[in-house]
């Protein structure tokens, strides 16, 4: 029987990364929305993601169901362990998702829906950051169950990663807005993007020092010989990307700030993967130990390998339809 675990690791890894990148930028747009100067600007900011946010959020469903399908044991341990961050994220997503439609239709409560969109985006991001931090730190496991308390996931580290992700998504969102807007609004996005960039830089540096300090296995992974030689390109490339992002945001480039932000995310993601490999439940179960039955993975792989490219194609088409700068329509001055 073929071993499907590597394939599913790649598919799931890709799915989660696409989620982080795609919903990352539209959650980021939601975070920056709160700082937008005036209603006209807010309309444009929201319009820039209105046709695509829903598709972006769908990757969250794929990520979570993919985890259940490919690595059910990890699903059954991790999700209960982050009970409250998940709850808070879901409730926040309800507010920010409904705010798109409701804000336009409910003029007398527009301020409420403005806040729902902005705060909902921020809270959902913060909760995802806590999930990330808790995941890196690992969970208390006995047998096939999580046995800690539902509040274990709130630690100084996970709260730090929560804040870090706010800056991260903010940076992605600013990159998107620089791409989709022009003039004063674009200048505003560049200013905010630069602040987020500084925040991201500090956060990446702190996490890079913090994780090896708290977890000797992670220190071992990165600093033992010959790993240190093989892995040296990771921090070096990250640093080069940071320089690129800095210049792109401060300069005139319109695509580069978004592209560089995505690359920075990819490198951070790779860094986490390297630290934890080959565990899917850190310190407890490897990818192979948590995998579902081979026939389950095979049955789903057949369809996924066919459907995923199709999905990417028509998703790409829907982005293509809404290409170009977003602007208020000529009919409404």
């Amino acid at each position: 029987m073929i071993d499907f675990v590597p394939l599913w690791t790649v598919i799931l890894g890709l799915g989660v990364f696409l989620y982080v990148m795609l919903d990352g930028f539209d959650l980021g747009v939601g975070i920056l929305y709160g700082f937008a100067p005036g209603r006209e600007a807010r309309n444009l900011v929201m319009n820039s993601i209105a046709p695509i946010w829903d598709g972006n959020e769908t990757w969250l469903v794929l990520g979570i169901v993919g985890l259940l399908a490919a690595f059910p044991l990890a699903f059954a341990i991790i999700i209960p362990a982050v009970y409250f961050p998940i709850l808070v994220m879901l409730l926040a997503l309800v507010f920010r998702g409904t705010a798109f439609e409701f804000r336009f239709r409910d003029a007398e409560h527009r301020t409420f829906w403005d806040h729902a969109f902005n705060i909902g985006s921020g809270v959902a991001t913060f909760a995802q950051g806590i999930v990330l931090g808790a995941f890196i730190q690992g969970f208390e496991v006995e047998g096939r169950h999580f046995v800690g308390s539902s509040f274990d996931c709130f630690t100084p580290f996970s709260i730090f990663t929560g804040i870090a992700l706010l800056f991260g998504y903010g940076l992605l969102g600013a990159g998107w807005l620089i791409l989709k807007t022009e003039g004063e609004l674009q200048a505003w996005a560049r200013r905010l993007g630069f602040r987020c960039f500084i925040g991201v830089g500090l956060a990446v540096a702190v996490v890079s020092v913090w994780t090896p300090l708290v977890d000797s296995r992670i220190a071992e992974r990165w600093f033992s010989w010959p790993n240190i030689a093989y892995l040296a390109p990771v921090p070096i490339v990250t640093a080069l990307l940071a320089i690129w992002e800095w210049r792109a945001i401060r300069g005139k480039a319109e695509v580069a700030p978004f592209a560089a932000a995505i690359c920075l995310f990819a490198m951070s993601y790779l860094g986490v993967a390297i630290s934890l490999w080959p565990m899917i439940v850190p310190h407890a179960f490897t990818l192979w130990e948590a995998a579902s039955a081979p026939s389950t993975q095979a049955f789903l792989a057949v369809g996924t390998l066919f459907l995923l490219p199709v999905i990417l194609m028509y998703t790409g088409w829907s982005y293509w339809v809404f290409r170009g700068k977003v602007r208020a329509d000529i009919g409404y001055h």
Partner: protein, 466 residues
């Protein structure tokens, strides 16, 4: 105060599913209706279809957005509150859920953007295709989620290894015994639900003499559809019942509040079932009709609850009444359809005030029937999550304390009690504004027109003027 994590987790699941199911119950049918309207407009070029499509698309946008966000909650429930169920059944059920995501959700969400905001950006045929894709997406979603649900009711194609279900035959898993009936019954129910909403809106306009052309088109189209679907639904429901009798006899006994196994059983119209005393109070029955309906034979035997151990019986009173509410509403629907034939023959269909009023107030009838049917089938499955094999009590997440779940349930209650009334209010406002207001505001410009302007046109005119 001590909270019970199991009971609260069940209540939480009821809360999030019951609210969520209202949206697919509406959007599955509405997506198909919009696709039909787009198709009619594409092929006939009549502007009335175009106006109707634009009008219903806006209502669809509100309800679909709510459906998405309340739907994302669902897969997480399996992990947060039912981790042991997830661990035990994932090898069998997770691919069905994953295929739902891959086939349905991406299709819906990618093409919805084009359907809502892309009319001026893509050719007409592409817009029609987008509407079709959204409709197909909703149907694929129903297919996979009902396959999953049906497997929990009538598991097949599996083996049990170390307390976990493992797949043996995928076709048997997907097309498990109750699936074809449940799929047909549910999707037809969703179409009927949407039908009665459209009918109600049309009746509302006809009574006020507004948008008469659009209203007549909707009213007539929908009544023809219901003429086919309501009797069909009653037939499918009957077949579904025979299937339940064969595969889930304990559930059928609970639905009928039948304690003793007997042949030539009566049909119970009303009773207060008493779980402890194993009997019914205040029973009103019609002789023989029970056997005739449940077995299609007046001498047919129907199994009673006493054949099953006490700890394997559902709480009888809930499925008993939920089922009767569902069937009663089905009969009212049939009456509404029947009257429409008479009125059509007399050419009074659009002007009979009492009938229009009846249709207008019938808007929620499908929703109530769907919820009642869902309660019947899900409570009837108790005390199992996987019928006869895995108990609900053994499915819950072990690490949860009652307080944890009390907090999360409170969170879901507060948020849904804000979101749903707000959404309902917004849809009602759209209905009040009517189809004429929006005829081409999304089309007139050649630029990627922002949804802000497209959607707030007409409503926030005073704001714009300032």
């Amino acid at each position: 105060m001590e909270f019970d994590a199991l009971l609260l987790s069940r209540l939480q699941f009821v809360w999030v599913v019951a609210w969520h199911i209202l949206l697919p119950a509406f959007t599955v049918g509405l997506a198909s209706f919009i696709a039909v309207l787009e198709g009619l407009h594409f092929f006939t070029g009549k502007p009335v279809y175009f106006r109707l499509s634009g009008f219903w698309t806006k209502i669809f946008a509100v309800s679909f957005g709510m459906g998405v966000v309340s739907g994302i909650v669902m897969p997480f429930q399996f992990g947060t509150n039912w981790s042991r169920f997830s661990d035990a059944t994932a090898d069998v059920l997770s691919p069905l859920l994953a295929y739902e995501g891959l086939m349905a959700f991406f299709l819906e969400s990618a093409f919805l953007g084009v359907l809502l905001f892309g009319r001026s950006l893509v050719p007409r045929w592409a817009h029609f295709v987008a509407a079709l894709m959204v409709a197909f997406g909703t149907l694929f979603s129903s297919f996979w989620i009902l396959a999953t649900n049906s497997w929990m009711q009538t598991p097949a194609g599996y083996a049990i290894e170390n307390g976990r279900f493992v797949p043996v035959d995928w076709m048997a898993i997907i097309f498990n015994p109750s699936f074809p009936y449940r799929l047909a019954h549910t999707v037809t129910g969703f179409y009927v639900t949407t039908g009665f909403v459209v009918l109600s809106v049309a009746a509302y306009y006809l009574r006020r003499g507004r948008f008469v052309e659009e209203a007549r088109t909707m009213f007539s189209m929908t009544l023809w559809l219901l003429t086919v679907l309501v009797p069909l639904q009653i037939l499918i429901g009957d077949l579904h019942g025979l299937n339940t009798r064969e595969h889930q006899p304990a559930k059928l006994a609970a639905i009928e509040a039948r304690w003793e196994t007997a042949s030539r059983v009566p049909l119970s119209l009303f009773a207060i079932p008493d779980q402890e005393a194993e009997t019914n109070h205040f029973e009103i029955e019609i002789p023989l009709l029970g056997s005739l309906i449940l077995t299609h034979d007046p001498n047919g035997t129907v199994q009673g609850l006493k054949d099953f151990p006490k700890d394997q019986r559902a709480p009888v009173i809930i499925p008993y009444f939920a089922f009767r509410i569902m069937v009663g509403l089905g009969l009212i629907m049939l009456a509404i359809v029947f009257v429409s034939w008479v009125l059509r023959l007399r050419r009074d269909l659009y002007i009979t005030e009492w009938y229009l009023r009846l249709c207008q107030y019938a808007a929620p009838i499908g929703f109530v029937a769907v919820i009642a049917g869902w309660v019947t089938t899900e409570v009837g499955r108790q005390p199992w999550t996987v019928y006869g094999l895995m108990r609900t009590a053994d499915s819950v997440t072990p690490s949860l304390s009652g307080t944890d779940v009390a907090l999360s349930l409170a969170g879901y209650m507060i948020v849904y009690l804000i979101m749903y009334p707000a959404g309902g209010l917004m849809m009602m406002r759209l209905v009040k504004r009517g189809p004429a207001d929006q005829h081409d505001d999304a089309v007139e410009s050649g630029r990627p027109r922002g949804p802000v302007d497209a959607l707030s046109h007409g409503q926030s005119g005073s704001e714009k003027a300032s």
